[in-house]
Amino acid sequence: MSETTRGASTEVDLTLRVNGSARRLRIDSRTTLLDALRDRLELTGTKKGCDQGACGACTILVDGKRVLSCLTLAAQCDGREVTTIEGLSRDGGLHPVQEAFIRHDGFQCGYCTPGQIMSAVALLAEGRAGSDEEIREFMSGNICRCGAYPNIVAAIREAAGRDAGV
């Protein structure tokens, strides 16, 4: 048998690279990445909505790709690069997508907003903001119960460098 983390321990030691910093943790194997971020690393910007993979509020980036942190075991992310909403700002300034959400009032209660913004950042990197229809389709995993969708689409459209709706 090759080298594996044997022994009947239900605890896991891991290192997460969160927003550029290495963070060492010992966690219960059941810990989701969402709970590790919020409860252990005090990064509460990532929100727990449905906690069951249906709402998108917990969207973060792992190795640059958007995923749901509520359905990700933290143990699986040993050595991975994790980016949360707290990691978007540079030199104290907001990310262009964050600025666009503010400018277009892309939220009401704000609870889904970190997930919306992380998803939008990934969407732009994927090259999927070519039309409003495309933005709506590829943002459909992020639910906004306040119904701020038109303004969210407008914010992403602007961040993508398109002025008018198509």
Binding site: S2, S29, R30, G53, S140
Partner: protein
């Protein structure tokens, strides 16, 4: 839920040994089903969880007219693969009609094939009657809220749906699953991989405990084939199918030379419909033939009040995609000049024609593809 031992496997052999040697052990891949059913619903309670996500099973490689897809390739990776766009457009369409980008970035192809049912009674441990979760306990769904349940392959023992979109296209294509066991490898066509519930709904496929799905082989569609995946659902995106249909057709002079048909949203397993294919084969493309094919596809359904409407809905879904694929002139909406891979949103209905061999476009627009298809006619082998 109970605590479990977490082990990250470094190679396939040790992963298979770890799980096959321990009846309480289970595999963990993308986690979108497994973590949900363990941590959130408490339906699965492994004492040992073997993480296989770092095994070298991710690659997507073409070998002649077959695409080999590693079981750990993600849904998103397969959906954006260039060969899939060119030669398996209805696989791409089924994938992009599934879940959300976040989930597709996590979920693996192996996990999609092995996904568990969304049946709410299976997933709710406070419900006593579930033959799939607790064999012999009964079925709460047949007298419950069963709109999202199966009508084909179903019985009074179980009406749980296999909710995959991807697998509907895969069974239509005769994809083959490669399986690694503790002692040997074996290969099983996907059409023989799933097991209808009968009186043992807890048995869902031919895998033995510890066997690991390592890859699937997908035969590419011959150039000139018209294919499409139509998904009918309650909202336009990010929703499971009420009904769906995956169809591939080779048409020559208005006659259907070859046909592949499979249905989703209606089967306890991804539902290949050879009876419909037999009706279509050699027949002229037209409304009467399509309706006869639909009647043949949805035969002897088992319905409860919540699912009775799906009989007609499934038939109309199949008729609609057949009509779309055989339209003499593509409709304006499909001829709108979309050309980039991303600009083909998985709205229904989608239809594509596999471009002729040597085509240089990464993803032809439907209009161009249809022109090519009409001009070229059916060519190539059909396995």
């Amino acid at each position: 839920m109970q605590a479990f031992e977490y082990i990250r496997a470094d190679d396939v052999a040790s992963a298979v040994a770890l799980v096959s040697g321990d009846p309480t052990a289970q595999y963990l891949a993308g986690g979108t089903t497994q973590v949900d059913l363990m941590l959130k619903d408490g339906v699965l309670e492994p004492e040992r969880l073997v993480d296989i996500t770092r095994l070298p099973l991710r690659g997507i490689t073409r070998d002649g007219d077959v695409l080999r897809v590693g079981a750990l390739a993600t849904m998103e990776e397969l959906a954006t693969d260039v060969t899939v766009a060119e030669r398996l457009p209805f696989v791409r369409d089924a994938l992009l009609a599934s879940a959300s980008t976040q989930l597709r970035n996590m979920a693996t192809i192996g996990g999609n094939i092995l996904q568990r049912t969304r049946c709410r009674y299976f997933r709710d441990t406070s419900v006593a009657a579930c033959n799939k979760r607790a064999p012999g306990s009964g079925c709460a769904a047949i007298s419950g809220a069963a709109r999202m349940h199966a009508i084909l392959g179903a019985s009074e023992h179980c009406i749980a749906l296999h909710a995959s979109d991807l697998c509907v296209s895969l069974v239509a294509l005769d994809a083959v699953a490669h399986i690694q066991g503790p002692e040997a490898q074996r290969s099983v066509p996907l059409t023989e991989f799933y097991v209808v519930p009968g009186d043992r709904p807890d048995v869902e496929n031919v895998l033995r405990h510890g066997e690991l799905l390592t890859a699937i082989d997908i035969p590419l569609l011959p150039p000139g084939t018209r294919s499409g995946y139509l998904k009918v659902r309650d909202r336009a995106s990010y929703e499971f199918a009420l009904t769906s249909a995956a169809v591939a057709l080779a048409i020559s002079d208005g006659v259907i030379a070859r046909a592949r048909v499979a249905l989703g949203g209606v089967g306890t397993i991804p539902w290949r419909a050879p009876e419909a294919e037999a009706v279509l084969r050699g027949a002229p493309a037209g409304a009467q033939v399509f309706r006869a094919a639909a009647d043949a596809a949805v035969h002897d359904p088992f319905t409860v009040p919540g699912t009775a409407s799906k009989v007609e809905l499934a038939k109309r879904t199949l008729v609609r995609i057949l009509e779309t694929l055989t339209e003499p002139t593509p409709s304006a909406s499909r001829a709108s000049g979309r050309s980039a891979l991303w600009e083909s949103p998985p709205r229904s209905p989608t239809a594509s024609t596999t471009p002729p061999a040597g085509g240089s476009a990464r993803c032809r627009s439907p209009s161009a593809s249809f022109s090519d298809g009409r001009r070229a006619g059916p060519v190539g082998r059909w396995p």
